[in-house]
Amino acid sequence: MTLLTWGVILSAGICLVALSALVARTFAFRAPSSLAATQGSAARGMRYAFGAGMLPTAKESARDHLMVWVTGMLYHAGIFAGLFYLAFTVIGFLPAAIVAALRVLIAVGAVAGLGLLARRIALPHLRQLSCADDFAANLIVDLFLTAAVIHSFVPTLRGPFYLVAILMFLYVPVGKIRHCFFFFYMRILFGTFFGRRGVLPHRGVREA
């Protein structure tokens, strides 16, 4: 294994540990209590939060911005594909069919990411809501995806690809990309909050 390969493994490890530490750090704050008698079901609420509750059918914000939602989904699919591709290159297992499939997903993800970046720059309110980190996070991930696609065609460019991957892993915990961990935390809270109160999943039209 080359030094850069070790660098990728180490930075990914640091990233995971730092993300876990960030989540654990929230536990330095007091624990919220939940003493009111439950009306619905926290478990059903959670299932909903990770299932139907993420779809545009359930969420007005996604429904009214369907293109953005779809672009976001493609972006994230591309990122997962990129991470798989990176892992495959590290372990040296690269069947042509898998590489071809991942390449398409990663390329689409890169274009989607750049589309979201363009949206952030173009819409005045979104631009004003954003800070440098929002742009940087997007750019670093786009760079990673682009490097992955290029590497899939030109395997000799492993060095730059790995350097970008290391940079990305080290940036993840300090900037907004930490939402890759906090997303799950938030969906659990969302599901338990609305689930316990019997608001979600929607009970549908029924006799009281």
């Binding site: 704050f29 938030m186 009281a208």
Partner: protein, 446 residues
């Protein structure tokens, strides 16, 4: 994030007068009100902006500072500055802000002045962030600094000092009930109906919004008639009758706990079985869902909305109704704290389907319904009245589209706001509580 020029309105001078010690105290309070869930929420926003159009303030004004993520960002930026790694070393990079005079002004202006704590953004956030809870927590910091806008502060103070938010004395309350009892008994079929006060061992202790006593006595009579028709065992407490809780809105758990604690004391003193909450959105959310946390105890009794109770009567055949008594087209307003944040969704619909000939839903409805704009203490904060009416346009449009002549409103705060919207936007509708419509449709044996 670039905030537009802001000021703290009537609190401007008080904010300017804050000393470094006060700001240190504010930061300590900030840390104290934060739970681990808040802390996680404040680290989670991805600035996607998709929550913008979920907020009626933004829909009505299209202002940056009306966007939920902007309001959340005001709180999150302070969290990042004082608790985050990059926020400490490179605050500009991650949009971190120090908790200083300008930040506090921005908090007052946006968190009190442009939010009704309706929860609609929380329902729709891409991540699932409870934006509303974070905003309320930050309001709590302002409350600890005594920086609550004057109208809301005086409402809270009145409730804390006098025992209810209108400052009604025990004598006045009991006398008003006696007068209402006489009026009620003059209606055919209700000659023996009673307004019970301070009865012990009843199945139910009923609470109300003090505004009913002052301005909407027919709402009280309606519920008493339904209880009578159902043969219910019920009572008022002479001192613990106020269902409202403006501590939910000023953000102070201590204030809120004191108010809800009075109802618990009345329940225990009178030995009632179920605490029944009047048609009041925030009163329901406060006393059903939040108060056990404020008081740090599980309730040994049930807490129900009057809508659950009355729906139960109808389902069990304890009351009979005739929809022919309500022939005008009726639509239903879903109070945020009762429905989206409270989980009372279908009971009111069940009742209206049986008591009104022509019941029409608004679009959107149930947990997706728009806030009327009167929640979050907005009705009390008169310095933000123009914003409140402007934001209420979304609800006014919703009502107009139904073509209904009557709006059933299971919340007296919402009724106050809708009365103003009715006038301001020329809606030409009548506003009634659900129980008023049920009482009007009651079939009683002479």
């Amino acid at each position: 994030m670039k905030p537009e020029p802001i000021n703290a309105g009537p609190l401007e001078d008080r904010v300017e007068a804050l000393k470094p010690d006060d700001l240190t105290r504010a930061l300590e309070e900030f840390r104290a009100v934060m739970t681990r869930d808040h802390a996680a929420a404040l680290a989670s926003c991805v600035h996607c902006g998709l929550c913008s159009e979920t907020c009626h303030y933004y829909l009505a004004t299209r202002r940056l500072d009306a966007i939920p993520a902007y309001k959340l960002g005001l709180v999150a930026s302070v969290f990042r500055r004082h608790e985050g790694l990059l926020g400490k070393v490179a605050p500009g990079w991650v949009g971190a802000r120090t908790l200083n005079h300008e930040t506090i002004k921005a908090w007052i202006d946006a968190l009190f002045g442009r939010c009704s704590l309706c929860g609609r953004c929380a329902l729709n956030c891409t991540m699932g962030i409870n934006i509303t809870a974070a905003i309320r927590a930050a309001r709590g910091v302002l409350a600890a600094l005594d920086l609550v806008p004057p109208g809301l502060k005086s409402t809270v103070d009145t409730a804390l000092i006098k025992g209810n938010n209108m400052g009604i004395s025990e004598n006045d309350f009991v006398e008003t009930l006696a007068w209402l009892e006489g009026e009620m008994q003059s209606d055919a079929g209700f000659e023996t109906a009673r307004m019970y006060v301070e009865e012990t061992g009843c199945r139910m202790l009923y609470t109300l919004n003090p505004r009913e006593v002052m301005f909407f006595p027919l709402s009280i009579v309606a519920v008493a008639k339904i209880f009578h028709a159902a043969g219910e065992s019920w009572t008022f407490s002479k001192d613990g009758f106020d269902v409202t809780n403006y501590g939910l809105y000023d953000g102070s758990d201590a204030h809120a706990g004191t108010m809800s604690g009075r109802l618990v004391t009345s329940m225990e003193r009178l030995g009632a079985g179920t605490l029944v909450l009047a048609e009041c959105g925030h009163g329901f959310n406060s006393n059903r869902w939040e108060a056990p946390q404020w008081l740090n105890r599980r309730y040994p009794f049930e807490v129900k909305s009057i809508l659950q109770v009355v729906a139960g009567y109808l389902r069990d055949g304890r009351i009979k109704v005739d929809a022919a008594q309500n022939t005008q087209p009726v639509t239903l307003h879903d109070p945020c704290n009762l429905v989206r944040l409270g989980g009372i969704v279908e009971e009111q619909r069940y009742l209206l389907r049986h008591t009104a000939r022509d019941f029409r839903e608004m679009t959107p409805n149930r947990e997706h319904n728009y806030c009327c704009g009167g929640g979050g203490g907005q009705l009390a904060m008169t310095n933000y009245a123009d914003r409140r009416l402007e934001a209420g346009r979304i609800k006014a449009d919703q009502i107009r589209r139904t073509g209904a002549k009557i709006v059933a409103v299971p919340c007296h705060n919402c009724i106050d706001q809708l009365m103003e919207l009715n006038k301001h936007y020329g809606l030409g509708v009548e506003l009634k509580t659900v129980c008023e419509l049920v009482a009007n449709a009651l079939v009683v044996e002479p």
